[in-house]
């Protein structure tokens, strides 16, 4: 009964569900097999590909979390 509390108020998926989805996405994107794919030579904006990938995904996740958390 508590699981739907958030959705009852505004009809949108509750913040909690979005966060859990983002959490699962993070687990996926920071997984070693996927990281190995980016462990190649080359640079993005002057930064090695692997670092650019991790920092980029990290920043994107923070931005999405901020959007979901601060939206009223």
């Amino acid at each position: 009964m508590t699981a739907r509390r958030g959705s009852r108020e505004d009809g949108k998926p509750p913040r909690r569900d979005r966060m859990v989805a983002l959490f699962l996405l993070g687990l996926l994107l920071f997984n070693p097999p996927l990281l190995r794919l980016f462990g190649v030579e080359g640079e993005i904006f002057g930064v090695p590909v692997l670092y650019a990938y991790i920092l980029g995904v990290w920043a994107a996740m923070i931005a999405l979390a901020a959007l979901a958390a601060e939206r009223r």
């Binding site: 966060m19 070693p32 002057g46 692997l50 991790i54």
Partner: protein, 909 residues
């Protein structure tokens, strides 16, 4: 050394000035809070205070890790980022529970969840102290080493208690004692401490970003320049690949450990849970804190790469943050970097020592004191000073321990690797902590066994080997196992090889911890007190205020007893406020007992609060047991009240269903009454006529024979009508009750319709109406067989035909026809009568509905004929209707399914 050191006096003075500023900020924040304008009532300050997670291990150590493992430093921050995303699910629940239960530390939290178990609290506190004290030593070492790097002195020459590490430990102990043990109530906030920690978080972030910016743009002219410089260094290039970090499985392990640490580290629990002012602050922290971690790690790799380029292997990579600006002549920047590192150490040491001292006081010392009941304690009326003294002493002891560990272990492996080893120790709390939030069946025995098992495995697979690698244990301990038992080798337990030591330890400790936790919980039967606490934790969001206790509850302790206990631990003012206006001699009752328990729990933890309360009863063992039983039962009453609420909700739903059913029954009852009154009316009309005529015949013997004959004719006709009405009523009742026996088979419709036409031929002849039949299917040949009951089909046709005979004017013609329409046979009876207005088309098939003006038109039928037809036709799977307009005749039609196209299911009644 590759750079000119700074004068140590300058560094010392700046450090002192900075520490004084921290004291000033904390003091100011405490004053503001006392004036009602708390600076920590801000989500941003809350998020910044979580930055205490980033210690010197981050500030200096990340660069060191990056210099050897590439991306290997990142999982320590990615793990907490992911955990923070679960804040609305996980932390919100922990916060709510901590507030309702007045939790003072993570040891208190876990102990409270499992029936306020003192043993569990003791165990958690002990594990935390053992696992985290070396971590404090690491901070002291980092400050000392960075101070030496900055000033060019060598701490190795200093005598004990005069070096930088001791100075920092002493200053931090003072800070923690002043701002961390202000109130007796440990569940209250420490605004001064939190504000200072948030400020320190800002300083270390600014310092690192400044150094990073200088390194990238000042030394290398941008990122491209920096990474282009590495082209000739394959050893540095190797760091950009995934291999160094992902090779041995350490990536996932450190991510998991860090994810757990953000909840389980005593200092994180302190700032995130105990110091939280409002639950909604989490919404800001869940993204701002990860952003903080991202920013502070942004320049880690550039600094590491630049340091490797410049110093090669000559300088400890951990010190690049200070060495790079210093060797470039940027003394002020180097000093700022040192202050950043000092901030990282100071924040960690203060919060950790306050958190640990609360645990030590509430879960290690107080339970022992309360059980032993030394006479001095018995006599003392005010223990609040003693409580504060114990906490302050604990802070001093913990920091002293950390300092001694730092002096003794020095640069031993045991200290260097303590970061992740600490994480692995506190991660042992995670199963009991998180499991206890969602699994109501988890029990104290399960948590105890899991924790003990996990901690033992941790000791064997991580702590002891780190001692062995430091040379405190023989090296053979690692290579051939303790006492030469190969299957007990700490890095290859039971022959499990091929993992890095951390992954190996995590696997075994998690297996033992979670396995024992689940297995023992499943086979355990917890008592009512444990169950009540389990409900209070798991269902914290569904709880309402406790029920009013029964009025005749007799307490064993008086209000005065309770007030005395509360006053002893929290001071007389709090006791006065809590029990104002109550008669000291009155029995305490469960309500006041709970108030006292909550107050005491905030000061000395849940487990100790119960023991302290027990001491309120002067009667000794029997009285104590009785009082504890009362407390348990009060909790039990609350658990029961929740179950009662659930049952009430179920009852309400059942009541709603019953009410709906009742409304429907009332409606049906009304319809039945209406039906009965109509039937009675229909029966009375012919009966009245019969009675009136027979009375005339009886009273007047000299009646004219012609008239007598006419009257008798009417009597016979009315009797027949009565008989017909009763027959049809019975018929109707039988159909509606489902008591009619149907013999449904493939029948010849033409035969049935012809039989009906023959049996009504007399009626038509009587009224001079011509009946035409068209039953040969016209061009289609003979009619195909239909599925139905022969007798019932005849009944329907007779009914429609006799209706037509009644309404058609004499001399007109009535047609009975049948044709195939789709997969059924359509039978129609058309007459040239007055017709029926469209608005009455549906109503003519209702019971007792005779269309026309009831005042002038004489009823010609019983009003049941068409209703019966409708039921028969519908039972046979067909439809019935009328096509007509007023004054233009009427065509009654019905359909009946053909035998070879009807679904088989229709054939069975």
């Amino acid at each position: 050394m590759a750079w000119t050191p700074m004068p140590w006096l300058t560094v010392l003075l700046v450090s002192l000035a900075y520490l004084s500023a921290l004291f000033a900020i904390a003091h100011w924040a405490d004053r503001r809070a006392a004036a009602g304008h708390s600076v920590i009532a801000s989500p941003t300050v809350y998020a910044l205070s979580l930055g205490v997670y980033c210690t010197t291990w981050t500030f200096y150590g990340s660069v060191g890790r990056a210099a050897s493992q590439g991306i290997g430093f990142l999982p320590i921050y990615l793990g907490p980022t992911l955990t923070m995303l679960l804040a609305p699910l996980l932390m919100r629940k922990i916060l709510r529970i901590a507030k309702t239960q007045r939790i003072t530390s993570i040891a208190d939290f876990i102990a409270s969840r499992y029936g306020r178990s003192p043993l569990l609290g003791w165990l958690v506190a002990l594990t935390a102290v053992a696992g985290v004290t070396p971590y404090i030593a690491l901070q002291l070492k980092a400050v000392a080493v960075s101070f030496d790097a900055l000033t060019g002195s060598f701490s190795g020459d200093d005598s004990p208690f005069l070096d930088t590490g001791f100075a920092v430990a002493a200053a931090m102990a003072l800070f923690a004692m002043v701002f961390g043990t202000r109130q007796i109530d440990a569940a209250e906030h420490h605004p001064g401490m939190v504000a200072a920690v948030a400020f320190e978080s800002l300083v270390k972030l600014v310092a690192f970003l400044a150094v990073g910016g200088f390194v990238v743009w000042g030394l290398h002219g941008g990122l491209e320049g920096l990474f282009a410089d590495t082209a000739a260094r394959p050893d540095i290039q190797a760091l950009f690949a995934a291999e160094p970090a992902l090779g041995d499985g350490a990536w996932a392990t450190s991510m998991l450990l860090a994810a757990a640490a953000i909840l389980c580290l005593p200092r994180q629990f302190q700032v995130m849970v105990i110091e939280n002012v409002e639950e909604r602050h989490l919404n800001r922290a869940l993204w701002l804190f990860p952003l903080y971690m991202l920013l502070i790690n942004l320049f880690v790799l550039p600094v590491a790469v630049s340091g490797l380029l410049r110093f090669g292997g000559d300088t400890d990579p951990d010190l690049f943050v200070i060495a790079l600006p210093l060797s470039s002549g940027m003394d002020a920047l180097a000093l700022l970097a040192f202050l950043g590192g000092l901030s990282a150490a100071a924040g960690m040491i203060v919060v950790e020592s306050v958190a640990l001292s609360t645990m030590v006081c509430n879960d290690l010392v107080m339970p022992a004191l309360l059980r032993l009941r030394p006479p001095a304690l018995e006599r003392s009326a005010d223990l609040s000073r003693l409580l504060l003294a114990i906490r302050r002493a604990a802070i001093v002891v913990i920091l002293l321990l950390g300092y001694v560990y730092f002096r003794v272990a020095g640069s031993a492996y045991a200290l260097v690797s303590i970061g992740l080893i600490s994480f692995a120790a506190v991660a042992q709390f995670a199963p009991a902590l998180i499991g206890g939030l969602y699994w109501q069946g988890a029990t104290r025995r399960g948590a105890l066994a899991g924790l003990v098992g996990g901690a033992l495995v941790w000791t064997h697979t991580l702590l002891l080997p780190s001692f062995a690698r430091s040379g405190w244990l023989p090296a053979s301990f690692i290579e051939s196992g303790p006492w030469g038992i190969a299957s007990l080798r700490p890095y290859a337990l039971f022959g499990l090889e091929g993992f890095d030591p951390l992954t190996h330890a995590l696997f075994w400790s998690a297996l033992v911890n979670i396995g024992l936790y689940i297995a023992l919980s499943l086979t355990d039967r917890p008592d009512s007190a444990q169950q009540a606490q389990a409900v209070a934790f798991v269902a914290v969001f569904e709880q309402s205020e406790p029920l009013e206790p029964p009025a005749d509850w007799q307490g064993v302790a008086s209000v005065g007893d309770l007030a005395r206990v509360v006053a002893r631990f929290l001071g007389p003012q709090r006791a006065e406020a809590a029990f104002a206006g109550a008669d000291p001699a009155a029995p305490a009752g469960p309500e006041r007992l709970r108030v006292a328990e909550r107050l005491l729990a905030g000061a000395i933890g849940g487990a100790s609060a119960r023991v302290a309360l027990a001491s309120a009863v002067p009667g000794g063992a029997v009285g104590t047991a009785e009082l504890l039983r009362m407390l348990d039962e009060t909790s039990h009453v609350i658990a029961h009240s929740r179950q009662l609420e659930e049952k009430t909700a179920a009852l309400e739903r059942a009541t709603d269903a019953l009410r709906a059913a009742n409304e429907r029954l009332t409606e049906l009852d009304r319809l039945k009454d209406e039906f009965l009154s109509t039937v009675t009316h229909e029966l009375r009309t012919p009966l009245t006529a019969i009675r009136a005529l027979t009375e005339i015949l009886h009273d007047d013997p000299g009646l004219d024979p012609a008239q007598r004959h006419e009257f008798l004719g009417v009597v016979i006709a009315e009797s027949e009508r009565l008989t017909r009405l009763i027959n049809q009523l019975l018929d109707m009742a039988k159909i509606e009750a489902g008591a009619v026996e149907w013999s449904i088979a493939a029948i010849d419709p033409a035969a049935a319709l012809e039989q009906a036409a023959a049996s009504t031929a007399g009626l038509f002849q009587e009224r001079g109406i011509t009946l035409e039949t068209a039953l040969d299917g016209a061009l289609d040949g003979p009619l195909p067989p239909v599925l139905g009951d022969h007798d019932r089909l005849v009944q329907v046709a007779v009914n429609l035909l006799s209706n037509a005979a009644k309404f058609a004017p004499p001399g007109s013609r009535v047609t009975l026809s049948a044709r195939i329409a789709g997969d059924s046979l359509r039978v129609a009876v058309s007459d040239g009568g007055p017709g029926i207005a469209p608005e009455h088309h549906a109503a003519v098939f209702d019971r007792f509905r005779q269309v026309g003006d009831p005042m002038t038109d004489k009823p010609a039928g019983t009003g049941l004929g068409l209703a019966i037809c409708k039921r028969i036709v519908e039972h046979l799977g067909g439809r019935i209707g009328v096509v007509s307009a007023s004054g233009a005749g009427a065509t009654f039609w019905f359909t009946i399914p053909l035998a070879d196209s009807a679904p088989r299911s229709r054939t069975a009644p």
